[in-house]
Symmetry: D2
Subunit: 401 residues, 4 copies
């Protein structure tokens, strides 16, 4: 796109200049944040002219030229959610409605979860075009807990390939109420979205590195998926998890007894590493970008960086769809029809493939360990927008490339 | 669309007329059969002028006027598979390759299955636009067996609604290797794609009708789904099934003991009816249209008749996706990523939602009871066309309405 | 023994004669009934002299000569319970105490059980020497229900041998809470004391006879075990059982599907026959003799007739010990330590091997289906007499032959 | 008994003296060892007269007076196996026959077991009267492994009582093939004869003592049960067990997660202690005395010391009977009908309650982990002597005290 064309298309009425603020307003209306990495170069130039409010063609071209394709797309192109204002309004209404849902209880097995404010309630979205929306407690950090599972699974798929990974981990639902301590008929964890499979995935992440460097690899991955946000880490949660991890130790020893692990791993290191991954801290806003990266086939929407291959994203979404919501996964797949992953901290990532990633956070859980408001939100979401996968695929002229 | 415009767009070079045969060739190239119900009115008129080969504008308008929208779409519109010739060529190549796959064995529990020619091999497709392709033994009748399950399930959804139906039948995978004789933790069959759930579905189909009329209801449904083909019925298979149905009788009595059935049903009638449904006869070509109707959200592609609501089709596809391939369902969902239903007769319906339905038939089965060639075909299909659901949904600009 | 010696040992003080009534009193004090078959010959002779009260040596010898060994043993020999008066007194005290136990509920799945008087309470004993004691509702008939299982199992052992029988039925506990609908890892019922195994046993009883003659074989066996009492039969219970037998039909079909039955059996006949066996009627008093026959190694204590071989009795007691009390069997074996079989009619046969058989009857059941008073009685019994098998075997000089 | 009477009853023909050697021969013929603790006092006195071979009445009285009751019983009394020579002859024949049985394989999960000589074959008996017989490799030490379970279970019964112990451990068979990693429906190990239950028992042994003192308590108990033999300990086996104990660690963590342990225990200490108990070393000859102490109701036959109460012995034998032979326990109870406990080292303790304890040792195991020759021996034993519990109890006049 020619920057002059872009400039002219932004002109209003007879004015020969554009208000600088208007550009950012126009972007904001379409869901593009002032902080979006894709426009930082351009923003810096425009902001350098801090004494100028009205931009003429020459200055515009000078500032925009290097980023004109991106900016043009963000301002004028066909974004995946064309009417972002309407989208936000609907989500806001749902968000407000759900405040009244105070069902469920916070997890209590470690004090850090038991003492969290149950009223926390955040909702954030990031589309495959990087359109973002955040409301409520979207900037408050929480531990990712089980939502680390899809990230770690994708990471090992990326480094080892699907064949190798699934020599160690199954890829099927285990059946509701199936004793989680049991392995599948090949002596492997049923899938990477349950604890046994997630521990196994941890054993496959850079086992050649010293333990203290492995978490760095994972944090780097999260950072890329968020488009630059360095995740926090809760030492208290890590230590508490480790101290109360009887089930995970049982799983670990059980799998070692079944010779399920790759040769040469150190079980206690693997478990340590797993507890560390669970204690990574995110916010709703940043984790929505992570979900958005999965929705975008492995490419971070706000940086354009490919973090995972499309094939990895596909495999991860397949298993989030069938296994991501604990024992409620089957029912969730039927009624909501979207890949998702929940955690005991109340965080819930849900992915609308090809459209957007969403993270909601509300610490009160139902008896399956899924966030009550989170589930409620998903049901409202798919009804409002027809996001159930089969609704989308069955739409006339909907899905064929 | 104006019939004159259509006429003119079909003209070649300087000729003022169109060869009648050319019209049918043009349709055929796009996958539209001469027998397609949507063009029968028009075909009849054109064929009435049996002495005329070259049609001029006046005659064209006279013959086509009433069906100009349909005909225009079929001849010039954007069909879901734009290059149907290429599509057929790829499928033909796969079809030929798979002839070499002679793995597996025919089912042997009844003589009618045991004595079937194991070399039968048919493949048929019907897109949501009614584009059809059939190759091999596509006109040889076989019993639908377990492929009756999605049809019966859809039928009860349609008549009773999802709430009522799922008071009697679950909607979750049961976990591989889970004893099929066990009910879920609420004392219900796990889902309608396994025998217990299919028997339960049969108990919900017009229980108020005398037994001899219920099959008619089911046959009518199949007929609509095929766009007019009246299914056959194998008395021998029905009687054989009934005589060797120990497991199904066990399931039936077990469910009755658990008070799982609606009140007032006659168990032996329900089982009888179930065996009748399994003995319905289809051909590959006609059952591909059935699959196409599911792919088309419940509307028969070649008649335009809505047989099931979109919501019913959605629910049916959800459960075919997670539960349609016996104990191989989880693995199939991961690798193939399409709703499907297989049967011991070797028939396999696979649905590409919003695109097409496919039925393949090859009697040799693997240890799970799925057609060996059928599975092989599905793997080849998704690789060739990127039909895995998450591949489609993750395609850039692919899926958003 | 010389009849004169016997006569003289019965003389009191200086009298040269014995009161006829004294003989029967002496027998009664040792638990020998006036109706005992072993003394009927002698009783008839003595009673023939209805005008004589005091019997002199000549008459005594005449009447007693043919039975002097038996009579001598019963009057003077070492009987297994030497002080039968004390034994009765203790049992009577337990019996009275347990009247206060009104816990539990009668079975309700058929009206004949639901409407039984819950207050019925009977207790009868028969030692291996034929010493008998009965108190409470010991003459009221009830259906044997599951207490038919040890009799039928013994019957097939007797006719087919242990090798053949256990090709069709296992001989191990199934584990508490193990789904009763599951077969063992060889596809056979776990043992003959649970429904599946009992149905299998029925398939092995004279399959060559017409159905209507098979029950006669079973009734004959019961009659011999009771020492002559012809059992009754409840047509109502038979028909009710048959009508509400969903679980048993499920079991039957499931086993037929697993090819667990011998070739050529007619499943519906086998089930019919099983329901008939359950509807056989006994009384506490007569069923105590049945238990006594098992305690006596297969020989009826009051007729001396060998009904089962010692090996058959041994095998039957082994499985009553480990599997006779439904899901409570393991706990019962630990705490009570005696072979027993309970039934939903509230009857409970318990065997003190080598000592006596006991039958108690009280219709109120606990959640496992065992008679509440029956269980209570067993606990009191073993405490009072040290009858727990390991208590007896560990007694100094107790058990070695 | 008067020592003079004893002396005279030992005199032969006209000799006024007894050969000293004759006394020991007479004892040996009845199975009483020269080393028997009960005669050591007397032996010491007799041996002090090393220059005297023929003992006269005066010397006899002087030497024997203090032990005359014991010596009289051993020389002249009714011992539980009256014809010990015949008994030994039969056992010797069986022992020789079984040398030909080379079925099975030694355990391989730790090198100490993998490298054991598979040909080891020892057999020892100790009756409740202290009659002993040993043949083959009866003096070669091996690790007790799972045969420590009945000892530890008895020890905790003794110290805590049956009520307390069974709040932590169940007392029922778990059903063959039931996943050993599963707890019973109350979240407790099924019984103390399987690993989970044995670990739990270890948690109940003197938890107030420092770890290093707990093993002493257990060794003291073994020593008393053997009549004075201080058990050995294999440091190599202990360390190997600990290093390869994945399943036991899994069980331990699983139980801790279920809050199955008493409060305040240190899981790693408990497991350590369990591995130590398994590494205790016995010989066939000494472990036969341990089995004899159980057969004798908790009293060591060769010292007369009560180690366990009769009630404890009873409870221990109950569970050895139903649960002592791994997944073969049910079949073993049916066919052999004796309490027993086997181990992966190939040792097998079998108890004939009230008669004798036997230990056989042969390292080759069947697929259940039971010694092949051991099982074979048990079958031969019960056939030869009618030792099946129900055979003994059903013997005429056999069992009533």
């Amino acid at each position: 796109m020619n920057p002059i064309t872009l400039f002219r298309s932004l002109l209003r009425q007879d004015s020969p200049t554009i208000l600088k603020s208007y550009i950012f307003e126009a972007l904001a209306q379409r869901g593009i944040q002032y902080t979006d990495p894709r426009i930082q170069n351009c923003v810096a130039k425009l902001d350098a002219f801090s004494d100028v409010d009205s931009i003429d063609e020459g200055l515009f071209v000078a500032c925009v030229q290097a980023d004109v394709e991106t900016l043009g797309h963000l301002l004028l192109g066909d974004l995946v959610i064309p009417d972002f204002g309407h989208f936000k309004a609907v989500l806001t209404e749902i968000f407000e409605d759900l405040k009244e849902n105070t069902a469920g209880n916070v997890a209590t097995y470690i004090p850090q979860l038991a003492h969290v404010n149950p009223e926390y309630w955040g909702l954030s979205v990031c589309t495959v075009d990087g359109q973002q929306f955040a409301i409520g407690d979207s900037e408050t950090p929480y531990c990712v807990q089980s939502t680390c599972k899809p990230v770690n699974y994708s990471l090992v798929l990326e480094t080892l390939g699907v064949e190798t990974v699934h020599r160690y981990i199954g890829r099927e639902p285990s059946g509701r109420g199936f004793n989680e301590l049991t392995l599948n008929h090949e002596g492997r964890p049923h899938n990477p979205m349950i604890n046994s499979g997630a521990i196994m995935a941890c054993s496959l992440i850079c086992p050649e590195l010293p333990l203290e460097e492995r978490l760095g690899v994972v944090l780097d991955t999260w950072q890329k998926l968020t488009g630059g946000y360095r995740p926090g880490f809760s030492l208290e949660v890590y230590l508490s998890e480790k101290r109360t991890a009887d089930r995970n130790f049982a799983l670990g020893y059980f799998m070692r007894e079944k010779k399920a692990f790759p040769e040469g791993i150190d079980l206690h290191q693997v478990l340590d590493f797993y507890f560390q991954c669970c204690a990574i801290e995110m916010t709703c806003r940043t984790q929505a970008v992570v979900a958005g990266s999965l929705a975008n086939g492995g490419v971070c929407p706000i940086t354009g960086e490919r973090v995972f291959s499309r094939s990895t994203a596909k495999d991860c979404l397949s298993l989030m769809y069938s296994c991501g919501m604990y024992d409620f996964s089957g029912e969730f797949a039927f009624t909501v029809g979207l890949p998702a992953k929940s955690s005991v901290s109340g965080a819930l990532m849900v992915v609308v493939p090809g459209v957007c990633g969403i993270t909601v956070w509300s610490p009160r859980l139902d008896r399956y360990g899924n966030s009550e408001r989170g589930l409620d939100f998903c049901n409202r979401l798919v009804k409002a927008f027809g996001f159930h996968m089969y609704d989308r695929l069955l739409k006339p002229n909907g899905a064929v490339g």
